[in-house]
Subunit: 246 residues, 2 copies
Amino acid sequence: MRNFLVTIMYDGRSFHGWQVQDNADSVQEQFQKALYEVIGERPDIKGCSRTDAGVHANQYCISFHTAHTIPADRLPLALNRFLPATIAALSACEVAEDFHARYSCKGKEYIYKINNAAVRNPFLEGYALHYWHNLDETVMHEAAQHFLGRHDFTSFCTVDPHRKKGDFHRTVRNIAVERSGDIVTVTIEADGFLYNMARIIVGTLLSVAQKKIRPDDIPDIIETLDRKAAGPTAPPQGLYLNRVFY
Amino acid sequence: MRNFLVTIMYDGRSFHGWQVQDNADSVQEQFQKALYEVIGERPDIKGCSRTDAGVHANQYCISFHTAHTIPADRLPLALNRFLPATIAALSACEVAEDFHARYSCKGKEYIYKINNAAVRNPFLEGYALHYWHNLDETVMHEAAQHFLGRHDFTSFCTVDPHRKKGDFHRTVRNIAVERSGDIVTVTIEADGFLYNMARIIVGTLLSVAQKKIRPDDIPDIIETLDRKAAGPTAPPQGLYLNRVFY
């Protein structure tokens, strides 16, 4: 059997996340349909992460096994004929037999876009959080540096009852808050992300900008292992899975 | 009576253009509804131009008379409460009694965005034309300079049977083709635009890039006063009304 790794990009506005669900359009379902059109099979396809409804992906990785003989470099063009316009296959390659899009992943980078302007921008509707009070990105950036390193991120996780006993330690390798015109972008790279971790970190940095949380409180919030100590979960529409590392 | 000039921005994907139509959502209809919520009147509102279905506006101007006492600087915020997320009111001011958004207009600037990349981008779907063959923006820019100045643009107009006897002379004041990464942008400023003129100029510049039309043929195409001599009408989704001059 051959094992393929396919990289796609998608506009999350149209989907209820990656995972197949009843009565809701998902990226996985659309990908499976297009793949069936191309290779005539329905292999078990593995996505690199669950993503929530409304979350976007500049890079999302999928792996699957097949005996089909299609050359890897022909696969993206073939898939794009059948994928909706809201999903694009960017590249494909063959990988080792035991490679798994999720379990082989060594890290991910998310970005979160905030349109920090007095008036909303129709072209950013669903693509960035609109936040009209002036944000001090320098203060947010400095506060964010407290997240760097290996921590138990229980305070920054929406508890998932199915994995209460999991390991909540993650390593944040890079975090930055930068402004370009009206757009403030939060970039977070980690070896892995707990459920809603990126959005709760962003919500906490917004609380810092609002002076509801002091930058120096962040180490205590991490240590307290209590979701209620952190800021709110930022809405999904500003979040993009940006890079996946193997 | 007071006369207001309101500037809006809108995402044209959701609308069948500016003008009210039966069985189709228009920007004018949405603006009229929001204005009624704010001032409790339905004045005759004048838009700066007709725009086609799918065409966007970074700046679109509207004027109307009312006796309402609302301060001009409060109007945008009040309108934004009732406008859909795909339309934003940016600013408002009071203007002279005889000002008319369309007839007082001294010029407009349109931009046309082309995503010149091998693979489509889901985030540009409906916001830029996807053109996958490599475009030489330098050749397009040089060819475009032939449009500068005052010409009879009959060859660059979809004939409107209701105004066959109009004046087809327009003055192109600036035209440029520039690349930023994958995005090639055509900018055209003129004292006025005939129906589809911007889109036919862009279609003709694409024909130049495809070597179907030589740059030096453009003066002859203008002089021949024949729509069939020019290139095709580029599709609407890349077009933005960008600036309106009074």
